[in-house]
Structure formats: structure tokens, C-alpha cells
Amino acid sequence: MDIDTKMLWNEISESVRVSVSSAIFSTWFSQTYISELKKTGSRYLAEIGCSSSYVKSTLELRYYGLIQDLLTKSLNYPCDLSFVVKQKIREKEDVSIIAPLFQEHKDDSVVENAMVGAKLRLNFTFKNFAVSSSNQMAWAAAEAVSKTPGSAYNPLFIWGGVGVGKTHLMSAIGHTVLEKNADVSVYFTTGEGFTNDIVEGIRNKTTQRFRDKYRRLHLLLIDDIQFIAGKDAVQEEFFHTFNALVATGGQVVLTSDQPPSEISKLEERLRSRFEAGLIVDISPPDFELRCAILQIKTKERGMVLDENIVHLIAGNLDTPRKIEGFIVKLMSEMNIKKSEITEDLIGTLLGKGEGDNGQKLKATPSEVINAVSKYYSLGKRSLLGSSRARPVARPRQLLMYLLRTVLSLPLEEVGRVVGNRDHTTVMHAVEKITQLASNSVQIREDLRGIKNLI
């Protein structure tokens, strides 16, 4: 009795197509379908759905016999037809798209209060998170968790180096969950904050309050969980909190700078708990992603940068934090000195190499020289020598760039180290590499490779 009406109608349509012209077919038959097929005794009753009453009356008047014949043949039983005006139900119902006017209006302050209560950063949302291949997996997992907290991946463990966006992603989950429902209890803390809470609980004899606070949450976000490693009491408390939360359907999201398997002094039972969920890593952003991040960040501050300037900056700075710092520097340059943003200005700012905010590499010039000569398999003598052939000169310029930007040596000093050259030669080299870094993938790769060697 189960007849696929869609298949059946396809079959009928194909036969109809043979007997009528294509214009007639597409006008009268293409939007038509079988809305119902019933069998009574030895006869079938087919209800044909038509898109409008014009179609209905035309089919009834002119094609009744044709359709009836074909149906009878296909079904092997005599067939009766009835026609109704019924628009085909679309395959993809668009109920999910709710027009802004019809969205539930939540008082924004409620959501905001909830976010402040949860200690979330307000501007860390999915909307301003740029995604590329390096963080796509983590982003997709976070999105899935934010849609169905507690069921998709529990716990979600995000790890990666500094400034790759772990905290941003984690906050965005909390953000989305709260936006949907401000009554959900969400709490954002760090591994250190968690530790302090426990210590305080023990000191003030209020551990019960601590437990009430954590174990009734719907969503717990802990940043830098690696800090609890090696602290036995804290790990034990966390273990119980974790179990209690998961048992009641709460979601746990953790971040760390290492995967669980590499966090030393992490209790085995915790490690296995973490490994039971989803572990995703975020690798350092590639050039394109850095461009996107730069654009998002400048837009937030109301700045618009030209494409070539974006490339120049993203090509020379390798982490989002550095980019952030650079934008601050650029803003102050604009506001205080009222200077216009030009490639020259960017070049000088980048060339100063002060934007590293204490992340300066601790290396001596000779180490850098060694690294460069090793990377390019060039003898130190020729690297520092006087040959101006490109295979030697380019690495030399790169070396000067690195000495200038990474070690922040004065121009003269760089010149002295690199075979007693004039400071203007150094200036030229730095400028040249700054330019190249914005448009040559090779140079960017080389820079990264050498930095890893240092």
C-alpha cells in the first residue's frame, strides 16, 4: 500500500511530457503533485495538488483523461481523480529565519547583566571571530556547543598557543547561550580564579557556598585550566565539580596552552575525563586570517585601512596580540601626531620593533646570524661579506631586518655587526623586507622559520 507518491508523479510527469508541448508542461504540470493517494476497494483515489485555481481548472477540463489513463496504467488499478489548490510544501521550511521584528525582544540590559554576572567579556562574540583553516575546527565545535550546550561535546577542550583566540571562542559560547536565554547560569573563570575560590572557601569555612556556586551551573567556562595541575586539593574539587555538572547536563568548556596529555602533574582521572570530550587545537593564524583579524579590530575602533596597508601589517606581525598592540600604537600616532596612515608611517612603526610588549626574543646578534646562516645554508663569511648577488644579499637583508626588529639594535650597531655596513644600508634592508613581507609568501615563511631557529 505504501506507494511513493513523489516517484509515481515523476513517472506520470515524464509520460505527460511526451504527449504535450514543453510550454504546456512547464505551465500546468511542473508545480503540480499528488497530495494524497487513497485506496478504496479496488479503486484508487488520487488528489492532485495544483498551485492555483487556473491550473486546477485547466487540468480538470483538458488533461483529466490523460492523467487518469497514466495513473491507471502505473497503479494497475482503476483510478479516480480529484483536484485541489494546495501549494507544494517547500522542502526547506524557512521557519528558522525570523524577521527582526518578530524576534523575542529581550531587554538588552538583562542579557548584559547576565554577562557581567558570568564575568564574560562583552566584545568576545562569534560575530567578530574570524575563521580560517587554522581555527575552523575549534570554531565549529564551539558553535555546536553554543547551540546545544551539554549534549554536543562535553567537555570541550580547546588548546593552543598564546593569542590564538581560545578565550575569545570560549566567551563567545557563553555569549550565545546567554543571548538565547538570559536565565541560564553561566560562569566564566580561570584556572587560577577557580583555585582562589577554593582556597577562600577553605579559609572562611564556606566550601558549601563554593559548591553551590559551581555545581548548579548550566555552563562552566574555565580559561587556562593547566594552572590547576599539581594542586591536589584543587584537582580533586574540580573533579567532583566536573562530575556533578556533567551528570546534571551542564556543559564544561576548558582552555589550555597544551593538550591534556602534555599537561604535567595532571591527575590521570582528570586527564581521561578531558580526553572523553572533544579536544580541538587552534594553530597560530595564517596570513589571511591575520588580515581578517586586523580588519575586524580596526573596524571596531572605527578605522578603515587600505588593502595594501592591511597586508603590510599582517605580513609583519605574527600574532593577534601584536596586531592589537600595533593598532593601539597606530591610533595614538594618528591622534597625537595627527599623522596620516601611509605605507611609510606603517613601515617606520614596524621597523621600530617596539610593539612586542616584552615578548622580545632573548638572543644575541651572533645567535641570529647563526640562525640565518643555518636556515639558508650560507657560510657566515659570505653572509657578512661583500657579495651583492641576490642569493646572498636577500638573506643579509633579512638578517638586518631581524636584528633591527627582533633585537631592537640601533641602525649603526646592526651595520657594524653585519660586516661594517653603513646605517643607510640597514635602513634600506629593513624597508625592503618590510615591503616584501607584505606581499611575498616565501619571505614570510623564511621569517617564521628563522624565528623558530633562534
Binding site: S22, A23, I24, S26, T27, W28, S52, S53, Y54, V55, K56, S57, T58, L61, R62, V84, V85, K86, Q87, D94, I97, A99, P100, L101, F102, H105, D107, D108, V304
Partner: protein
Amino acid sequence: MKLKILQENLSDALHIASRFTSSRAQLPVLGNILFLAKNNKLSISATNLEMSILLNLGSQVEKEGEITIPARTITDLVTNLTPGTLVLEAEKEQLSILGEGTKAVLSGMNTSDFPSIPQNVGRAFATLPKSDILDALSKVLYAVSVDETRPVLTGVLIIFRNKEIIFVSTDGFRLSQKRVKVEEAWGKEEKVILPKNVLIELTRLVKDEKIKLEFKKEDKQVLFGFDNLLLMSRIIDGEFPDFERIIPKSSSYKINVDRDDLLRAVKLSSVFARDAGNVVRLKVTQEGIELNAESQLGGSGENKIEAKIEGEGKSEHMVIAFNYRFLEDFLNSLDSEDVLISLTDPNSPGVFTDPKDPNFLHLIMPVRIQS
């Protein structure tokens, strides 16, 4: 078929009917106009399968019959003929037109392929007063959505509720609602969503004081009868969003402002808003309201308007942003001197009303602004 008819009458009717043909349809007969001579009158009809029209013209019929003729050809021809009596004669699939000094023979098509079109309204479900209906339509039609992915929003919802007809339209960003009081009472509430196009045609065509309206539920069809013509359209299937839920019940500010002043300010701001996502910011101060817009390329402008402001949050300044096109559309549709704007907070829809007309209400969703 053979008949005599006045060129003036025929020309007008053809102009109207040709708007209902579909020139790009795959079925050639849909680009044609159907002529049907019967009982001393000529009926002209056309359809694009979404809506159709039937016009009855007085004429002297000598021989009954029917034929379809391509709309473009016959309209262009008849328009340019000299006024006076024309003789139309159909022979097989050709129509000859005899005017003063002109003789033309047009090739037509058999009528059997032409979709069947209802000939009369039947018992009317309602009789609508023309002026009220036209007024209501002018206040809701501009807010109808043009986005085909949400079919229900591409039409106007009409609710017949005892002694009242409610017209509602929305595109998801704004909503217009107009109530019309009538003498008729309906026992049961009826709801119907009608496509924008047919309502636009209705406002263009109607001259009679009364419009007869009838639904054919099982055919999902609506019929309007007035003057000598019959307008038909499909009804849009589907559930209109629950609009009553989103109309704010309370507000923290009530702003009474002169319509012309506000419209001028909106137009001035739009100069800059055009390059900046159409966003105009409205700031409520103690003395009145300020409209400003800025674009990164064009510059910025600020306009102050005096207004009477009532509300609890009088001391604080509220800033709310709107798409200027929505404000302009609304203000243009209004014919009163003043506008009453009720605002709650920068993220809730603004309620725009005519202080003299409690039956009209317009909602506009604000644009979110980063603080």
C-alpha cells in the same frame, strides 16, 4: 464572432487587460487577451496565472463567438485608431478590425488553451466601501515585503472581525496596521492573505463606491467585483506571523512632532545616511528631538526639531537609530499634521501613530547601534 464597439471603450479596456498578461510566460496563450462576445456584450479577459481580470463592455453583437489575440499587437493597434465605431469580426483564428479608413487583420489563437476565468462574483461575502479601503491600502501596501523567500509576507493580511476589517502588512522590519470600521458584521472571524499586486491593481482601477468581495476557499481564490470588471487573484497560503504579540503595550517616551518638520529632517539626514547603511540616529532631548546622520565619505548633518515630549525617562537622553527609508515611507503615507512616536528603548520597535486616527499604527524596528 461579429460586433460593433466604440474605439474609446475598447482602447481603455485593452490597456487595463494587457497589464494582466504575462509576456514572458512559456505558454504563448498567456500573452493573449480573450475576446468573448455573448448576449450583446463583449467580455475581455487576461491572466498571468496569479491574477486575472474580466471586463464587460457594451457593444452591438451580431454574431456570438470567441477568440484570443496577442495583447501587444491589438493594444498598439486599437490605441492608434481614430475614435468612432469599430467593427470586429473573427473568422477561425483571425480577427479583422474595420475602423475609419483602416482595415487590419490580426492572427490570433484558439481559445481552448486559455485558462478558464470565473464570470461573476456570485453571492458576495462582503461589500466594502471604496474610500475607506483605498485609504487603508495606501497605509499598508508600502510595508509589504518583496522577499520571495517568505511568501506570506509578500501579501497583506486582511482580517474580518465583527464590524471591523483589519489590514496588516510587514516585511519583518516594519509593520503597518489599519483598522476599518464597517456596518456589516461577521459571525466568524475570517483571515486571508492577498498578494500585493492585486491590491495595487484594485487601487488603480476602482471607481465604484462599493466593492464586492468573495472568496473561493477551496480554490484559494479571491474575487473583487466593481464597475464593469471583475478582478481575481490567488490567496497566499500560509500562516501570517503573530503580529499582535509584537505591538508594544507600553512606552517610556511619547513624542508629538509636526509631520512636515520631521519629514524634512529625515530627508536632510538621508543625504548622509545613504552612504552609511541608511541609518539615521534620533536623539530625544528635553526640548525636542535631534536627527543626525553621518557617513565616512560624505560628511554629517544634524537637525533639531521641536517636539512635545512626555515620559518618565525625561532626564536621560535616549538615542535610537532607524532606517530613514522606513521613516520616509511612513511619513509620506500619513495625511495628518502631527505624528505621535512612542519609544521604549533603543532595541525595541518604535510605534508611530497618527494622533487623530486611533485605527492606524505603524511599527519600525530600530537598527542596533554600538554604544
